[in-house]
């Protein structure tokens, strides 16, 4: 298998083929995606106004993203008024530098971290490790991945690609526990070890699910309790928040809380939600809260009228579970922190289309992602737009280097399809090519098809030839 750290979005085809060879992965993926899909269906069946909730959430996001500058300023002002320190980071490097500086200024060397996609996006762990301050991941799945030196394969279940036996062996190696593959025993071992980290930690790092402009509140959802530990026990809490996470009002949270857990894990609510507003002098929490507002390519998406919708994503993972491509090949194939349908539109925009042009094409446009999206993002239309941009380029960006043969092929196709005679001629050529076994094995489109399938056999003459000119 391609080592995940060398995975690249544009190597999707190879990485996907590798993934298909891994039976443990494909079996686990199928079980996970089926299970989450069923749970999601059961959970939303209990919500009669589900479609209205989606529509409401979509409108809230559309409104907010259209004037993100306004809401971000309000969020920052209110969070600051409540005692938080707000930092702004233009890109990942700047965000990492800010977090590193906060840790260094407090001589914090024992760091704990709860699950956060944004921090993975910017490689925060690596940046901190370079300064001997690598945080301990405390979500069980993320911790397993960290111990193994791998990358997550699923947004909700990061270690879905590993069996209990593999995790058991990992724990024997790294923690020196007696051999076991019992999930309860493995989780208990993790609890004990991570408790020691929590007890000693001087700085906790988390992500943010929602930031409320009106109050400066950040909301963090989870099931394990590690995010509560991370945001309560250490003296300093640093929350890294993508700028698209802001929503206008406290009351808007209710709709998103109804949508997110049901879509992600099929729970009515995840076990814990922490709604943190600034610091709590005299309370039980940390002395300091730092919120790092991360741009890293988001502002550019926000001002793109067509693609802006991408930022409405609330990271539930439902589109991954529903996507037949993801179900088959999993997250590593995408070579990005953000896999699946949402990753296929987000990654090329964050990293640049040239860097990840393969991803918008890694979809059959079946539309299952759009159906399950709790904020009704029209992912297929956005995939189509990115494909168009790959071919045409955009102002200020050259077209992506696609296969020359493809450009020629579509040029020819367009010419042939503009006249019935040419069309018949081309169709006849294709029929001949198809009947020649050597061609079907060697001629690119046919040979790709016949790698895994038989060629279609035409049912006699073409319909147009049966009906030439005739109306009935």
């Amino acid at each position: 298998m391609t080592p995940p750290d060398e995975a690249h979005p544009n190597a999707f085809a190879q990485q996907a083929r590798d993934a298909l060879q891994d039976e443990v992965l494909t079996g686990a993926l199928r079980r996970a995606t089926d299970l989450f899909g069923e749970r999601r269906r059961a959970a939303i069946a209990t919500v009669p106004d589900w479609q209205e909730l989606r529509e409401h959430a979509r409108k809230v996001k559309a409104h907010t993203l259209a004037q993100l500058d306004h809401y971000l300023e309000r969020f920052a002002a209110n969070a600051t008024a409540a005692g938080a320190t707000v930092h702004w980071a233009r890109d990942g490097d700047e965000a990492c530098a800010i977090v590193t500086r906060i840790a260094a200024e407090r001589s914090a060397s024992r760091l704990v971290k709860s699950k956060s996609m944004a921090t993975e996006e910017i490689g925060l762990n690596e940046a901190l490790a370079a300064r001997a301050r690598e945080p301990v991941e405390t979500d069980l799945g993320e911790w397993i991945i960290q111990l193994a030196g791998e990358t997550p394969s699923h947004i909700i279940v990061p270690a879905i690609h590993k069996t209990r036996q593999q995790i058991g062996r990992l724990f024997v190696d790294k923690l020196g526990i007696p051999p076991t593959d019992d999930p309860d025993a493995l989780a208990a071992a993790a609890r004990t070890r991570l408790r020691a980290h929590f007890a000693a930690a001087d700085l906790g790092i988390s992500g943010v699910n929602f930031g409320v402009a009106e109050t400066g509140t950040i909301l963090i959802l989870e099931n394990e309790g590690n995010a509560r530990m991370t945001t309560t026990l250490p003296k300093t809490h640093v929350a890294v928040m993508g700028i698209e996470k802001v929503i206008p009002r406290f009351d808007d949270l209710e709709v998103f809380l109804r949508l997110l857990p049901r879509s992600g894990t099929g729970q009515h609510l995840t076990t814990y939600q922490s709604l943190l507003t600034g610091t709590d002098p005299g309370g039980e929490g940390p002395d300091e809260l730092h919120i790092v507002l991360l741009d890293n390519g988001r502002a550019k998406i926000a001002v793109d009228r067509v693609m802006r919708e991408t930022l409405a994503c609330i990271r539930c993972g439902a589109c991954l579970n529903a996507c037949p491509v993801y179900q088959s090949v999993g997250g590593h194939a995408y070579g990005s922190v953000y896999p699946g349908p949402i990753g296929a539109i987000l990654t090329p925009q964050l990293q640049g289309l040239e860097q990840a042009a393969a991803l918008p094409f890694a979809s059959t446009l079946c539309g299952a992602c759009k159906d399950v999206c709790p904020v009704a993002i029209d992912i297929p239309s956005l995939l189509l737009e990115l494909r168009r941009r790959a071919v045409d380029g955009t102002p200020g960006q050259r077209p992506v280097r696609l296969r020359r043969s493809e450009r020629i092929a579509f040029g020819l196709w367009s010419w042939f399809a503009r006249g019935p005679r040419r069309f018949r001629f081309a169709a006849r050529l294709a029929r001949i090519a198809q009947r020649v076994p050597l061609l079907s094995r060697l001629l690119p489109p046919l040979s790709a098809w016949t790698r895994t399938r038989e060629l279609p056999t035409a049912e006699g003459r073409a319909f147009r030839d049966r009906r030439r000119g005739g109306n009935r």
Binding site: T215, R228, T277, E284
Partner: protein, 220 residues
């Protein structure tokens, strides 16, 4: 040199100096589920709450205010509790009145390492939500962030009058300007700490409590 803040805001304005470049789509009025529903009978609320808790592997029972201390003592004795992390709520103080002397209680400001070693935590909750089986802990009212999180077992006391139907009921109350000081930390708790990170098999108590029980205190 422009600050990161100015530069990001500038990028978001896409070149315009201030204000939106075109009218943004309107913000829909908040949609709190509570507003859509009728008042719910108490028995129905309790049944829904218990049903939801059962689904997530927790439980609730109704106890009369007069019987609270005896019931709590019995529960803790049965559970062989030794050291209890307590919140500073008056209801908790009352509930622990009949505790055997062998059980040690610790206040919220006890040393961290001692709180981490407690086997049981006990607090009240500001609200409980029937539709999801959720406890709402608001820091302005009580210090219960740690005692509800660190021990293996968590016992929450909820005045019956604080049991509401929907999440929206809580949101509207949390946000009322007339409400007591806005809580800096609001925690929603729905059942025991859980994970399915190893082969999707459910494991409870991976970080927080593995056992969650609620006493609905009949305060009428």
């Amino acid at each position: 040199m422009t600050s990161a803040r100015d530069e990001i805001l500038q990028r978001l304005r896409g070149g315009r100096s201030t204000g939106p470049c075109s009218a943004p789509p309107p913000l829909p009025t908040p949609r709190l589920r509570a507003h859509l529903s009728q008042p719910i009978a108490r028995e129905q609320l309790v049944a829904t709450f218990r049903g939801q808790l059962a689904q997530v592997g927790a439980r609730a029972e109704v106890v009369a205010r007069a019987d609270l201390a005896a019931r709590v003592a019995a529960l803790l004795t049965d559970a062989e509790a030794h050291n209890i992390a307590c919140s500073d709520a008056p209801l908790v103080r009352d509930a622990l009145a009949s505790l055997p002397a062998s059980i040690e209680t610790l206040p919220p400001d006890a040393a961290r390492e001692r709180l981490l070693a407690c086997d049981t935590g006990i607090s009240s909750a500001q609200w409980a939500v029937a539709e999801t089986g959720t406890l709402v802990l608001a820091s302005a009212h009580e210090r219960h962030r740690l005692c509800s999180l660190l021990p293996d077992r968590y016992l929450a006391l909820v005045p019956m009058s604080r049991l509401v139907g929907h999440l929206g009921d809580v949101f509207s109350r949390l946000h009322e300007p007339s409400a007591s000081p806005t809580s800096r930390a609001i925690t929603f708790v729905t059942g025991p700490s859980r994970t399915a990170d190893i082969e999707l098999q459910l494991v409870v108590g991976v970080h927080g409590p593995k056992d969650v029980a609620v006493l609905l205190v009949d305060d009428l």
